[in-house]
Symmetry: C2
Subunit: 158 residues, 2 copies
DNA sequence: ACACGGTAATCAAAATTTGAACAACAGCCC
DNA sequence: GGGCTGTTGTTCAAATTTTGATTACCGTGT
């Protein structure tokens, strides 16, 4: 039973995974140097800034960040300590709580965004032509949607 | 000076990063369930298995894995405990040491590979047509090469 | 041979992440 | 209302990762 990928696909896979690893590392370094934020910090700020009321339920936030619940708790606590977000009990559901963007958080985001976007352009986007952008978008949009639904762990057979 | 990405590029960037995050998480889960190996374990085994003598210097290995030196030390120690690799002093350079693939390690790789490749196919590759494969390869091969050389942290201006 | 500046890897302590167990609450059936 | 059962978040301990020294060794110059 040939479970292996053909050569072209294997090549694609390896290139993708290694370059992505390098890219993420590089972007995170740049971001930390420029603004003292981690990638996760930045991502939280972006998500909160884009939603009406600048607030999000913990679970919702965890889902979008692809974070485990306890990791999110830690992340938000850390940002709370630094004044970037506040934590408030959820009005509609007494169990829940929501993270709210603070003025300081918004400021930090405004401050960091130009550097970060510049970094993304420099390391990735400026090197891609329009066709490649389109291709990238198509592939990963589809992939993202497909991975949303399915549950984890589908061992091939055995 | 508009440092922001145009809309198409921003969309591409977001799709890419979120889907990649999800994909890596999923693949790692699958791999762990199927064979008890972490992604890093697997990657180490692959790299070692492909090189003549099945051995690699610590630094070389760290470079390819995009790991910090001390993380690699920990990783290799862990695999050594489980018998997947051995650690040997480097003949040519008394400072160095090299990780060597053991029989058990090779076996573990042979055992895990079909599951993992199946997983990669299922979650990513089977959904891509030939043009997309080609595009993916082109983009990330180029990116990987470009990121090899450059040093980190290039703050935009300030 | 001996000291010097530089590199490879490890070690110890601090920070982060995971996974299991837990507390507080919602929604529902009786 | 009172008792289940499933959610939502948090907490705690253990495992992992990072950071900053520290050790051992190379190559060079004296």
């Amino acid at each position: 039973m040939t479970e292996s990928l053909d050569n072209d696909r294997l090549t694609a896979w390896r290139a993708y995974i290694e370059a992505s690893q390098r890219l993420f590392t590089r972007l995170e370094d740049d971001l930390r140097v420029a603004s003292g934020l981690s990638f996760a910090d930045y991502h939280v700020l972006v998500l909160l800034s884009e939603v009406p009321g600048q607030r999000l339920r913990m679970g919702e936030l965890a889902g979008r960040l692809v974070f485990s619940p306890s990791r999110l708790t830690y992340q938000v606590s850390s940002m709370q300590r630094r004044g970037l977000v506040a934590r408030q009990p959820c009005p509609e559901d007494g169990r829940g709580s929501e993270a709210v963007l603070t003025a300081a958080g918004l400021l930090a985001l405004r401050e960091a965004a130009p550097h970060h976007l510049h970094s993304v352009r420099t390391h990735l986007m400026d090197d891609l032509d329009d066709a490649e952008i389109a291709c990238l978008t198509r592939i990963f949009t589809r992939l993202g949607q497909r991975l949303q639904g399915t549950a984890s762990a589908a061992p091939s057979d055995s």
